[in-house]
Symmetry: C2
Subunit: 510 residues, 2 copies
Amino acid sequence: MTEPAPHMTPEQFRQHGHEVVDWIADYWSRIESFPVRSQVSPGEVRAALPPAAPERGEPVSAILADLDRVVLPGLTHWQHPGFFGYFPANTSGPSVLGDLVSAGLGVQGMSWVTSPAATELEQHVMDWFADLLGLPAAFRSTGAGGGVIQDSSSGANLVALLAALHRASRGGTVRHGVEPDRATVYVSAETHSSMEKAVRIAGLGSDAVRIVEVDENLAMRPEALAARLERDVARGYTPVLVCATVGTTSTTAVDPLAQLGPICQRYGVWLHVDAAYAGVSAVVPELRPLQDGVEWADSYTTDAHKWLLTGFDATLFWVADRAALTGALGILPEYLRNAVTDAGTVVDYRDWQIELGRRFRALKLWFVVRWYGAEGLRAHIRGHVALAQELAAWAEADERFDVVMPHPLSLVCLRPRWADGVDADVATMTLLERLDDGGQVFLTHTTVNGSAVLRVAIGSPATTRAHVERLWALLRENHDWLATDFAAAAAEREAARAAAAAVLQGPAPS
Amino acid sequence: MTEPAPHMTPEQFRQHGHEVVDWIADYWSRIESFPVRSQVSPGEVRAALPPAAPERGEPVSAILADLDRVVLPGLTHWQHPGFFGYFPANTSGPSVLGDLVSAGLGVQGMSWVTSPAATELEQHVMDWFADLLGLPAAFRSTGAGGGVIQDSSSGANLVALLAALHRASRGGTVRHGVEPDRATVYVSAETHSSMEKAVRIAGLGSDAVRIVEVDENLAMRPEALAARLERDVARGYTPVLVCATVGTTSTTAVDPLAQLGPICQRYGVWLHVDAAYAGVSAVVPELRPLQDGVEWADSYTTDAHKWLLTGFDATLFWVADRAALTGALGILPEYLRNAVTDAGTVVDYRDWQIELGRRFRALKLWFVVRWYGAEGLRAHIRGHVALAQELAAWAEADERFDVVMPHPLSLVCLRPRWADGVDADVATMTLLERLDDGGQVFLTHTTVNGSAVLRVAIGSPATTRAHVERLWALLRENHDWLATDFAAAAAEREAARAAAAAVLQGPAPS
């Protein structure tokens, strides 16, 4: 007879659970003692781990010790108040607690019957958020549409495309597949790369992507979209989906939904709105005009796990006609059949997503919205937007930086100014590396109209005005240091060039 | 000026975290006091929730009270020792702790640089598991392949198909999309439905699916596969992928990898092995012969979140040639560029999956394997297999039940015997409903050779021999009760039929 497995008893879990909670509380308390960006080199973390799994079990204390020894140095600290990179992936105490309950319950919400509360709390919370964000009535579960939590906006963009393909083919894709030579999908050069990835995953290939021109603010030009649609239809293509973005990844540009919507309707094209980062800002009424025209959307995605205090993954996705989604994704093998599903009286969320299995993700959203309340969520968003506007004002008033592109939310794009003759992109990227190497802050970059700019995304709940002031001081200090250096190098190059020119202008070689 | 958001402080988190840990420990301690299957009706959970999100924040105590009041009655308790439905989705204390750490850190592992430890610990743990499961050297990160955590085997089946399409088209799918009229995918009628769903998502349409015949044990017949491939190639089709299953969902049938592998190689078809449930059993050396021939696999998936004590989602996916996967899924926008990615010295897992964002899921696997050790994992699997074999032996020896199909692992399929004249499927499904309504146990069903059978999947860590004995007693008791009832009804029907026949055989109507 073999020894029974050494399961952790509830009482052991109670003890170790308290230890891990304390470890996290301590981590949050001391997070500013870490460099924001990890300073390890490739392979360093693995080199600190044993080559094989342990044969015998180890105590929790040993694992926690290795968290400190091996894992923490290998982290880029996304919850650090000096984290200004990418978009935030902010979380919060209530989110962690909700997720902990979900892990502890360990239920699987693939079908209504496999845990009714998992499905119904999700429907309910999604309706709450549709209200909180001022989204159209068509997205409520009470009508033909509904909301569902997806793993990411990448996943949401994919399922939106699959639903659009299903509708455009009147269901033909289910049996016959797609028509890569005919189907077309419309984005701008600023659309998130996940939309092109979705087009590839769905079997269309990237040649199906039409890149619609943008205006001076990097927003999709409605007349350009209309012209492309007109031309493609005339040539026999089948336009399937237009992806409009509210808050692009590069600069938070906003495509004009109110003008794009009627065009999509005219051509019978599915309008998908990717508001991954910016959508949650609509909890604040004064920011809702950014997405005027959202009522034209066939589907809409925004990430509570970016800027709404909920840990990854918690994408809020709505569709106006859920039948297109479940038509594309529904499948019912015998072992999942049950009375309420057969009767059609319930929603089975497995048919709304790529995967079959589902965690109880609504819990963390529920914890967040209840702990903060609507007013707490608004205060959170308003606080970051205010900080971003302050930073932009400081930069506008400073001759060392240009603020490029509108900054209606909490992302500010800065283009450092450099002396004539300096390779601006090299200098800007050098400035970025110096800041990130310093460990107090972490920024990332993008390109705008072909030149490198620094992105400052304010989004950590721990970020205060003092942290933004510190960032601003570091930006100026490091710019001063580098500007002198780069200008001197440029002047040297210019002098050398002039000297070489003088030689060339001298007596011709014999 | 607006009020600052009421963020939960680290000290508040410490306090409430302890409360939630205690709540979970208490839940685990009292889990047997709940009916396994939720007894709520559709809409009941939502009716207990307020129609709108709260305007003002609420204390954690209020949320925990609603967990008890609203959520718990709406759960089907997957961790209950009487849960024998579907496949298990077992979790464990160490898994919950690892996931809690992940939630508390709140890092995003889309690229190596965004948290090196998230990528490297995952690579490392996946190599550990390749060792623990005796998987081929080709799957190790040290060669051309590698492992990655996927959200589910549904997702794994999809990315395997995308990689296979990429290889079969020599990369052509990236730009030109798929060829739904030519590409073919091979499954058996027992293959999980997610493979057909993947075929639809990938744009091929379900007509591309070829259903290969199975033998009397519901295993794919190699000669039938060879014949179908031969015929399809002759007709100009392009066979892309064969999905072989180790442990089908219905009955844990095992497709013969050692014979399928050479056939796939001969036709240049990608061999994907879906071992979602059964794969983890290979931690036990004596169970490895089930997947003899796994070295032929181009890709392989098994779910640590089913039967290996790790909470959903934790699918272990390996590929022998990672270039096919990243070729299909890689995309690099400017804002994700960085020095180590450009240098090609690191793995960026975002290019191994559908989504861009990633949680630090390796932590929970790391906690599990360290707490249990390899020997603890083996004991866990061996314990369940032993219980299943005991149950099967009891049923074999009992005239009320037939054990259908081989049961090498922890699933036993039982076909209740009923008297002549009884509609066996109706009686079996009635027995199932009675058991599930009783609340002490939860089973699900499938069909084998067209008739309904009960599936008993032993997989909860809390399940002991006493729970299986109780299930067996309930099966017999309820069978006895129903058998009498159904036999009486059948006899009545037969008597009525005989009486009607007698009338009909009387004088002809005038």
